[in-house]
Point group: C4
Chain length 220, copies 4
């Protein structure tokens, strides 16, 4: 928008463009990702349902309390998607150039993000069964891993602002790797105890930031 | 976008950035919030439903009239979400700097906003029961309180434009506090009479602006 | 964004702001409206449904053909919402200043837009009944009338760019008024023949532009 | 936004505007299209469903595995919509001017995009029946053809940046035409074998880019 003379066009690998030259196009990618996140996070509410006609013999209060696991799954998924969006936000603030490979990787990443409302619903309905917890863990591990691939690719191909390349490599990368590891590890754990698997996520959620910072400090 | 030399990167507490430096990033937060509001307000329509196959012996006209409480709940919730969005809009117009705490608080606030379509559906189906009205009041009180926390935090940490800090502190703050108080007060009231609880909201909705202005004038 | 020195803040009636001063805020209103339109137009697809388990004795082909009226309702509603969005787009391109009244009117207008997917579903399921057609006509008439109020208000209060004030008053206004009139007139017609009511909309849809231009020419 | 003096207003055919003059309006069209794409791609997840109460005698694991075809349809549709969005993104990066005809064509194109979540659901439930595959192929062929019309129209009417007109005509055009041809050809094929029809899409999906480039090279 600022540079009418800038040319749009083909975005082949090895032909990365600076974000300033591509103003409107870069912002479209970011806006599209934000849109997908905003819709996915809002669709989470569809998993909580109270029938218009209550089953005989139950009060509305009992019916609401009965949705307890749906509310917990909603809270977990909102927090998870919120944190993932913040990380995505922070990562793309560091992206200086982009190419069609990064766009493709980002779409692949979003394909897993969109699955979260579905896995969240299953978690709310069947969180006491191994399969429900494992499904959730698989999707979140895939999210973390595809995010890791984006960080690695843009770091190797100099798509990040120089000042921030190190931050990405030393802080966001390890923190995200930790996430992926915990979700992968929770899969065998959930086979034995679904609740223990969920608790592992809670632990990493609340300590992940500090742990990532410590790892980063050690590597510095 | 305007300042290619500006650096993106970590946004730690105590390290707030001016919105001009962070042009695109600040607008992403605002756009994300707007997206969530727009989706939540549009999902309200899903609560109104007329079956493709009408129950034996009812006409379509009767069936539409039967949705009366759903239409009322839709109108209330659209007005409430619209008013909340205007307040959010006005508040973020005053935000000059932001940090990761404000971003987190905003996400927490949005987590309650997203619940509104669900509570609205319950209100439409069970607005004559205490539990339905109380559920709605709890979510709206939580919305007001988390908004209050955002106003307080950004006011204390000098994240607001100086000219507007006073406006926030003296006008938006008290008006919002009034909202929270009324929703909290409507909880015990709804235990006795659900309708009286709903009427309390109507009163504050139509007089809240004037009352807030009067409070502001007195404090000035 | 371009003018960091511009101040955000209270937007009272009689205190309209120029869109340039309010860059980001004005674009938020427009983006919010666009978001609501985009979601409403996409939710139209939810009215078309084919069960995973087909009723005994029907083929998938028959089942798809059976959705015929749903496809027609989808096509009508997509065209209507598309045309309304274009008009909204054109109108807001002419808005130079805005105040809180215009924002409120715009929200009230959007409250009717959001109802379109619901009325469209009813039309698809019960388009052969008067009540279904009348419900649709009422919502669309309300959309046109609330749009008319926005045009009138911003024209009277000098919120439009001077060069375009006349265009609005002489072209968009009458064309929109014609829309409102036809939807209102189709209500009594649909009482007698639902199909005749729908055909009235088709006529105005395809001839409305030309008619509006002719009216404008005569008044010039 | 950059040029406050620029005038908004009527956008008649034969009166195309440069995108710089129309900054905010052009970005609204693009943002609206992106919004529709983002919502449609996120609604794809609604087709995958696992009941809260499992049928007697099935485990959750079996139930998840049973959704196999839904997952495949989700993956196909996400990839297809993602690729279509990238093409739309690339095309609009080359658009320098636009008029109301292009806006109308774009809306008509989006009307087909919005149908994809519906056809995807049918494909997931009935992908082994000819009618399910043909429905999907018809919608995707319509998408490609309406995109082709947009490319042709804007190329003929000099709405594209001069440097990119050739790219559009020689690369994007033929690649898109190939897509349309394959989807059309898959219709008779699916009459005989639904699976063969789906495989045709997979082949063009993975080889389409290379084939399109080869055609472009030959024509150069």
């Amino acid at each position: 928008m600022e540079r009418p003379e800038s040319v749009g066009g083909s975005m082949r690998r090895g032909d990365p463009r600076r974000r300033e030259e591509w103003g409107i196009e870069f912002s479209r990618i970011v806006a599209f990702s934000d849109g997908v996140f905003a819709i996915a996070i809002t669709l989470l509410v569809l998993q909580i349902n109270i029938p218009a006609d209550l089953p005989q013999g139950t009060t509305l209060f009992e019916e609401i309390v009965d949705q307890e696991t749906d509310f917990i799954a909603y809270a977990i998924s909102f927090a998870v998607l919120g944190k993932l969006w913040l990380a995505h936000h922070r990562f793309f603030a560091a992206v200086e150039r982009f190419d069609s490979v990064l766009m493709g990787l980002n779409l692949f990443y979003l394909a897993w993000i969109v699955l979260v409302p579905f896995t969240s619903e299953v978690l709310g309905d069947h969180g006491d069964e191994s399969a429900g917890v494992i499904l959730y863990a698989i999707v979140l591990a895939a999210v973390s891993l595809t995010f890791q691939v984006q960080i690695g690719y843009s770091s190797r191909n100099s798509l990040l602002r120089p000042q921030l390349r190190e931050v990405e490599r030393r802080v966001i990368g390890p923190a995200n790797f930790l996430f992926a590891a915990v979700f992968l590890l929770s899969i065998p754990v959930a086979l034995v105890s679904p609740l223990a698997g969920i608790l592992m996520w809670a632990v990493i959620f609340f300590t992940g930031g500090r742990l990532g910072a410590r790892i980063a400090a050690r590597r510095a």
